[in-house]
Amino acid sequence: MKAYVPVLLLIVFVIANAVMIIGLSHLLTRRRPTPEKQTPYESGVPPLGDARERFSIKFSMVAMLFIIFDIETVFMIPWGVAYRELSCGVPLVHGGCPTGQLSFFGLSEMLVFIGILFAGYVYVWKKGALQWD
C-alpha cells in the first residue's frame, strides 16, 4: 500500500490545485457577460449549429471498424511474449531452444491470424463500408 502514497499525494495535489485556480478566478474576477462571451469556444471559429447535431452513421461505422481492428492488434503482445516457446518444437530448456528444434509455428500462427484479419478487411472493403459516399 505504501507504494501508492505518492500517487495519492499527486491526486490530492492536482485536485487542490484545480479547485484553487477555479475558485480564485471565481472570487477575484468581475463578471460582465455578453452574448458574444457566452458562446462556446471552438478554436476561435464561430460555432456552427447545435453541438448535439445528429451526424452521419458513417462516423460510427468507421469508429466501430477501428475498434475492431485496433483491439485485434493487442493479441500481438502476448504472442510476442510467448514467441520463443511457440517457435520451438519441444519445451524450452533453460529459456532456450535446443538446436535443430526451431520451428516456424509461431510465425505462421501470427500470419494466419493476420490473414484472418485481412479476410475481414477484404470483406469490409467489398461490402463498401469504407466508402464515404
Binding site: 500500500m1 452513421i57 460510427s60 466501430m64 471498424l65 475498434i67 475492431i68 483491439i71 485485434e72 493487442v74 493479441f75 503482445i77 502476448p78
Partner: protein
Amino acid sequence: MLAESIALSALLFVIGVVGVLTRRNAIIVFMCVELMLNAVNLTFIAFGRVYGYGAQAIVIFVMTVAAAEAAVGLAIVIAIFRHRQTVDLDSINLLKG
C-alpha cells in the same frame, strides 16, 4: 490489496447490474453491460497478481470479445432505431405473451 481490488470490482459489477436494471436507453444499458465486463477484467487483473500473468491474457480475450459485441450491438441498435425512431426499451415490446 487483493481484497480491496476484488471489492472494488464487485462494486463496479453491481453498479453495472443496477444500471442495466434502471436504465431504459438501449445504449446506456449496453454501456452498463460493458461496465460489468470491465469489472470482471479488473478481477482477473487482481487475481493475476496472485497466480501469474495468464490472467492478463484472459483480459485481452475479454476485451476483444467485448469490442466485437459492441460492434454487433451498435448495429442492432441502429437497426431498431431505423424501425422505431427510438431506442427506449420500454416501448420496444412488439413480441410478448
